[in-house]
């Protein structure tokens, strides 16, 4: 897939202790990954609430990636495990609300996992591209197209 896929937007909530450092390292290593990912630095994935994921979709995200530490190595002991349960709950809510649950995914990456991080991002971007833009954005695009002269 193209590295410059501008059709969809993926919001990636990255834990500062692992995935954010991995993304930083990926940059230092000149590793390429899709440019439609918007990284949001978070103090711990356990800080993320269900509302954050839903609001991201409401505000135009086509996919949301939650990247936390490997299980067992959370800086705050169990923040990533809390995040995992919240992501699962949010996926259920999304499915009930008409969005594909695959649009929200949690992955675990260590601070040294730059390559793994790029693989996760690439895989997420491919999945989201396969699903197409979020129905919320499709509606918006349709309206914009209709009002175009």
């Amino acid at each position: 897939m193209s590295l410059n896929n501008n059709e969809t937007t993926i919001v990636a909530f990255c834990c500062i202790y692992c995935a954010y450092a991995a993304a930083d390292l990926a940059g230092s290593m000149r590793l390429q990954y899709p440019s439609n990912v918007r990284i949001i630095r978070t103090p711990c994935t356990g800080r993320l609430e269900v509302e954050y994921f839903l609001r991201a979709f409401e505000n135009g995200a086509d996919g949301v990636l939650v990247a936390g530490c490997e299980e067992g190595s959370c800086h705050f002991k169990e923040g990533n495990l809390i995040a995992k349960r919240r992501v699962n709950y949010a996926r259920k809510l999304l499915a009930e609300s008409g969005l594909e649950a695959e649009r929200l995914k949690m992955v675990n990456v260590s601070a040294a996992g730059a390559r793994l991080f790029t693989e996760h991002v690439r895989e997420m971007a491919e999945n989201v591209q396969r699903l197409g833009p979020s129905p919320l954005n499709r509606a918006k695009t349709r309206v914009q197209q209709e009002i175009k002269p």
């Binding site: 609430e49 509302e51 839903l54 409401e58 009930e96 609300s97 008409g98 129905p135 919320l136 509606a139």
Partner: protein
């Protein structure tokens, strides 16, 4: 406290009319504690409704408010302005809260966003269990503080039924046998002799079988 559970989003969509202004109204008391209808759940359910509305073109306009207590007129007053602005109210209060709101806004449809389940306690994080059936004539003192009316699936006052396996209930194997608990509790507090007494048939009319109940305290009336 009253324990409730949220209805699924498809259930809510079936209930709510298309192209309407909806107020998702939370309650800051019991349903906040049981994580079903507090400020946070109002935010989550509103967000899910907005997503569903945009996905399926339902035309909802969703607003949010949480008041301290939906079963109390003093607090309902705080919601008047918000309720007047919308077409329907989706109450995330318990059954009493929904009815209290509906009774005070005669021309406003009020829908229940939760299924009110039982009177219970928080057993551990994320686990609530039923403890009281509000039978209207409490017998807890006879049974060491463990309610056979609620916690025995067969409501036996002269138990046990003999069907329990290990210490598990025959009807709900995921729950402990209430009579096993009663026996151990009475033994621990040295009151096993209570079990020798045969309990007479219970006066069920003090409960819901006697019709909807009312309590009037003349000393507090104005």
């Amino acid at each position: 406290m009253i324990v409730a559970e949220r209805k699924s989003i498809p259930e809510l969509l079936d209930m709510l009319p298309n192209n309407s202004k909806i107020l998702v109204l939370g309650c800051g008391t019991c349903v906040t504690v049981c994580l079903a209808g507090g400020e946070r759940e109002v935010s989550i359910i509103s967000s899910a409704l907005r997503i569903a509305s945009k996905t399926w073109g339902l035309g909802y306009e969703v607003s949010e408010l949480t008041i301290e207590r939906q079963c109390d007129n003093v607090f309902i007053e705080q919601a008047i302005e918000a309720i007047e602005k919308v077409d329907v109210v989706l109450s995330l209060g318990c059954g009493a809260g929904v009815q209290a709101i509906a009774e005070r806004f005669l021309k406003k449809p009020v829908y229940a966003g939760l299924n009110t389940k039982f009177l219970g306690v928080l057993e551990e994080r994320g686990v609530w269990t039923e403890k009281c059936s509000q039978c209207g004539s409490c017998v807890l003192h006879e049974y060491g503080g463990i309610c056979p009316v609620t916690r025995c699936a067969k409501h036996l006052l002269n138990g046990p039924c003999g069907g329990s396996r290990e210490d598990r209930c025959e009807v709900r194997p995921d729950r402990p046998c209430a009579w096993q608990l009663i026996y151990h509790r009475l033994k621990n507090i040295g009151q096993l002799e209570r079990l020798e007494k045969i309990a007479p048939p219970k006066q069920w009319s003090a409960g819901l079988s006697g019709g909807p109940r009312v309590i009037i305290r003349e000393d507090h009336r104005i």
